[in-house]
C-alpha cells in the first residue's frame, strides 16, 4: 500500500524538539521523526507510549534462570551425580554463577531478537528511508497526508516552526 508523506526537514535538534511540540499542539498528527542520533526527550514530546520490551526481558530472564537451575540440578544431581570438593550433589551456591550468566544470556538474546522482529529488522529486509539525509545531518519530520490535506497550511505550520524545506514523498513499503 502506498502512503504519501509530507517531510519537514530541520537543521537543529532543539528546533525540531520545539517544532514537534508546536506541530502536535496545532493538531497535526506526526507519523514519525527520523534523526541521525537519539534526542533526549523526543519520546515524551511525541507522546510515544513506553515500550513493553522490559516485560519481555523479565520473562526471558526467568526462562534463563529456570533453564540454568534445571540443567545443573538435573545433570549434577540426578543424571550423573559427581562428588566435587566434598560438596553435596546439588550445591546451590556453586550453581549461582552459571545461573546468573544464563539469565543474562537469555535476557539479552531474547530482547535483541524480540526488538529486531517487532522493528522488522531481519536479514534481507530493505529498510525504507524517507530522506537519506536523516542518516547524515538533517532531522526529518514525517507527516502522513492524503488528498484532503491542506498542504499550504501544513507547509506553513512546518515553515513557521523552523523547517528549512518541506517535501513530499510516496512510499510503498510503510
Amino acid at each position: 500500500m502506498t502512503k504519501r508523506f509530507a517531510l519537514g526537514i530541520f537543521e537543529d535538534e532543539d528546533v525540531l524538539l520545539h517544532a514537534v511540540e508546536n506541530v502536535r499542539e496545532a493538531g497535526v498528527k506526526i507519523y514519525e521523526v527520523f534523526t541521525p542520533f537519539p534526542i533526549h526527550g523526543i519520546d515524551d514530546a511525541m507522546g510515544i507510549e513506553r515500550s513493553r520490551l522490559p516485560i519481555a526481558a523479565f520473562f526471558f530472564g526467568l526462562t534463563g534462570l529456570s533453564f540454568a537451575l534445571w540443567m545443573q540440578i538435573y545433570m549434577l544431581g540426578f543424571d550423573w551425580p559427581m562428588i566435587i570438593g566434598g560438596k553435596p550433589h546439588i550445591a546451590l551456591p556453586a550453581f549461582i554463577p552459571v545461573s546468573f550468566e544464563l539469565t543474562v544470556l537469555f535476557c539479552c538474546h531474547g530482547m535483541v531478537i524480540t526488538f529486531y522482529t517487532i522493528s522488522k529488522l531481519y536479514p534481507r529486509w530493505k529498510t525504507p528511508v524517507l530522506d537519506v539525509r536523516s542518516t547524515d545531518d538533517k532531522f526529518v519530520m514525517a507527516i502522513e497526508v492524503n488528498e484532503n490535506t491542506d498542504m499550504t497550511k501544513l507547509t506553513q505550520i512546518l515553515r513557521d516552526n523552523g523547517a528549512s524545506e518541506v517535501n513530499q514523498k510516496e512510499m510503498s513499503k510503510f
Binding site: 520545539h18 526527550g41 551456591p93
Partner: protein, 440 residues
C-alpha cells in the same frame, strides 16, 4: 512537554527546622535512652540476652577458657561498648558517602544530581562527632578489651601467658599507635575534603561563576583517590580486625558497598521527605528515578561482593577462612542464622524485586519503603559483621536498638542543622539548569 521549554523561576529556599521536628528528634533520643536503660536492666537480670549462665558472663568465661581468652566486661557493658562501635562505624560510613557521592557527580560532570547536592553535603555533618566517638569508644575498649582481641596486653609478646602467634604476626600493622594514627588520618582526610567542598559550594552560592565548579572537580578527584584507599583500609581496621585471626581480601569492598548503598538510600529518603514537606520544588520524578536506579543497582552490587566473598570461602572450605561463616551460619546454637538469611532477603531480594520496574522507581512510596528497608538491612549487616566476633553468643537487640536510636536522633539533629544553613537549591551551580530539565 512543558518541562523542556519552560523556564523555572529560581529563588533560594531555606529549610526551616520547626520546633516540633526538633522535639521529635529529641524524642527519638529519649526513647533510645529509655530502651537502653531497659536493655541494661534486662541484661543484668539475665533476660533479653542469649547468655545462659545466670551468675554472669565473667565467671562463665573464666571457667570455660584458659590461655589466650580474656575475661571481658559484664554482658551489658560489653554490649554497650560493642554497640557504640557498631553504630558509629555505620553512621560515620554512611555520613562519608554524602561527600563521596557528590565528588563522583563532580568528577563525572553529572548535572542531574544538583538538586540533591545540599542533602549530600549535609549528610557528611556526622564525620566530626564520628571521629570523636570513634576515639572515645576505642578508649572504652581498654576497660576489658571487649572490642579488639588484638589489644590485649602481651598478646604479641612471645612467652607471655596471652601470646597468640597469629596475632603477633600482624603486629606491624595492628598495633595501637599505628591504628590510632590511621583512624585519625582516614577521618581527618574525609573531614578536610568535606569541608573544602562545602566551603567551595557556599562561596559559589555567594559569588557565582564557574571557577568554584572547576575547583570542586579537582578537589573531588583528589578526594576520590584518597577515599578509594582509606575506605578499604578503614574497613579492615574498624570492622575486620574484630575477627583478628581471619581475613578476606574482599572485605574492603564489601563494607564500602554496604555504606554506599545505605548512603544513597539515606539521600533518597531525605529527598522524598523534604519533597513531601513542601521543599525541593525542582525535584521531579526523573531525579527520583535516577536515585532509585542507584539503590537498585548498588543493592545488586553489594550482593555481588557479598557472594564473591562467600562462595570462595564456601568452596575452598579452609578452616581458618570458613570459621567466619561457621559462626554466622549455625554457630552459637544457630542464633545468627536467621539474620544471615534475613540480611540477604532485605538487602537483595526485596530491593531487587520491588524496584525492578520503572514505575516503582518513580513512586515516592515505593522508594520510601525500599530505602528504609535498605537502611535497616545494612545496619543489620554491620551487626552481623561485628557481633559474632565480639559478643560471641551473648548478643542481644534491646541495648543495641536503644543506642541506634540515640545515634539516629543525634545524627538527624546535626543533619538538619547543616541542611538549614544554606539554600536547599545551589542557585549558582553551573549545571543547575540541566538538573531542572532532567528527564529520564
Amino acid at each position: 512537554m512543558a518541562t523542556l521549554t519552560h523556564q523555572e523561576h529560581l529563588t533560594a529556599e531555606y529549610l526551616e527546622v520547626k520546633p516540633g521536628t526538633r522535639r521529635s528528634f529529641m524524642l527519638i533520643i529519649v526513647a533510645g535512652v529509655a530502651i537502653l536503660i531497659l536493655g541494661v536492666i534486662l541484661s543484668m537480670l539475665g533476660i533479653g540476652s542469649h547468655h545462659e549462665a545466670a551468675e554472669g558472663a565473667a565467671a562463665a568465661h573464666g571457667a570455660g577458657h584458659a590461655g589466650a581468652e580474656h575475661h571481658g566486661s559484664a554482658p551489658w557493658l560489653k554490649r554497650i561498648i560493642v554497640s557504640l562501635w557498631h553504630n558509629n562505624v555505620f553512621f560515620t560510613g554512611v555520613s562519608a558517602i554524602g561527600t563521596v557521592f557528590m565528588a563522583i557527580q563532580y568528577v563525572a560532570y553529572a548535572g542531574w544530581s544538583v538538586v540533591v547536592k545540599r542533602i549530600n553535603e549535609a549528610l557528611s555533618a556526622w564525620l566530626i562527632p564520628g571521629l570523636i566517638i570513634m576515639l572515645v569508644v576505642f578508649g572504652l575498649n581498654f576497660i576489658n578489651y571487649d572490642l579488639f582481641h588484638w589489644t590485649v596486653p602481651g598478646i604479641m609478646d612471645k612467652g607471655s601467658e596471652t601470646y597468640d602467634r597469629i596475632i603477633a604476626g600482624k603486629s606491624g600493622f595492628l598495633n595501637i599507635p599505628f591504628y590510632l594514627i590511621r583512624t585519625v588520618i582516614y577521618l581527618g582526610l574525609w573531614i578536610f575534603f568535606t569541608k573544602r567542598l562545602r566551603d567551595l559550594s557556599l562561596e559559589e552560592d555567594l559569588n557565582g561563576g564557574t571557577a568554584y565548579f572547576h575547583k570542586s572537580i579537582n578537589v573531588s578527584a583528589l578526594f576520590l583517590v584518597f577515599y578509594a584507599v582509606t575506605s578499604s583500609m578503614s574497613a579492615w581496621d574498624w570492622v575486620m580486625s574484630v575477627d583478628v585471626h581471619w581475613f578476606s581480601t574482599m572485605f574492603g569492598w564489601y563494607v564500602f558497598a554496604s555504606w554506599w548503598v545505605s548512603g544513597i538510600a539515606a539521600v533518597t529518603l531525605c529527598a522524598i521527605l523534604l519533597k513531601q514537606a513542601g521543599y525541593l520544588p525542582l525535584l521531579k520524578e526523573g531525579h527520583l528515578h535516577d536515585l532509585g536506579k542507584f539503590m537498585f543497582g548498588f543493592s545488586i552490587f553489594w550482593t555481588y561482593v557479598w557472594f564473591s566473598q562467600f562462595m570462595l570461602i564456601w568452596y575452598a572450605n579452609l578452616p581458618e577462612e570458613a570459621v567466619y561463616f561457621n559462626q554466622r551460619l549455625g554457630g552459637f546454637n544457630g542464633q545468627y542464622t536467621w539474620m544471615f538469611y534475613g540480611n540477604l532477603f532485605v538487602n537483595f531480594v526485596f530491593p531487587f524485586l520491588v524496584l525492578m520496574t520503572r514505575d516503582a522507581k518513580r513512586q515516592m512510596i515505593m522508594l520510601k519503603i525500599v530505602s528504609i528497608a535498605i537502611l535497616i538491612g545494612h545496619w543489620s549487616d554491620f551487626y552481623l559483621m561485628l557481633m559474632p566476633g565480639t559478643m560471641k553468643g551473648d548478643n542481644g537487640f534491646i541495648i543495641e536498638i536503644g543506642i541506634a536510636l540515640i545515634f539516629l536522633g543525634s545524627f538527624l539533629i546535626l543533619f538538619t542543622k547543616r541542611l538549614s544553613q544554606a539554600s536547599l537549591t545551589p542557585l549558582h551551580h553551573p549545571f543547575l539548569d540541566e538538573s531542572v530539565h532532567h528527564t529520564t
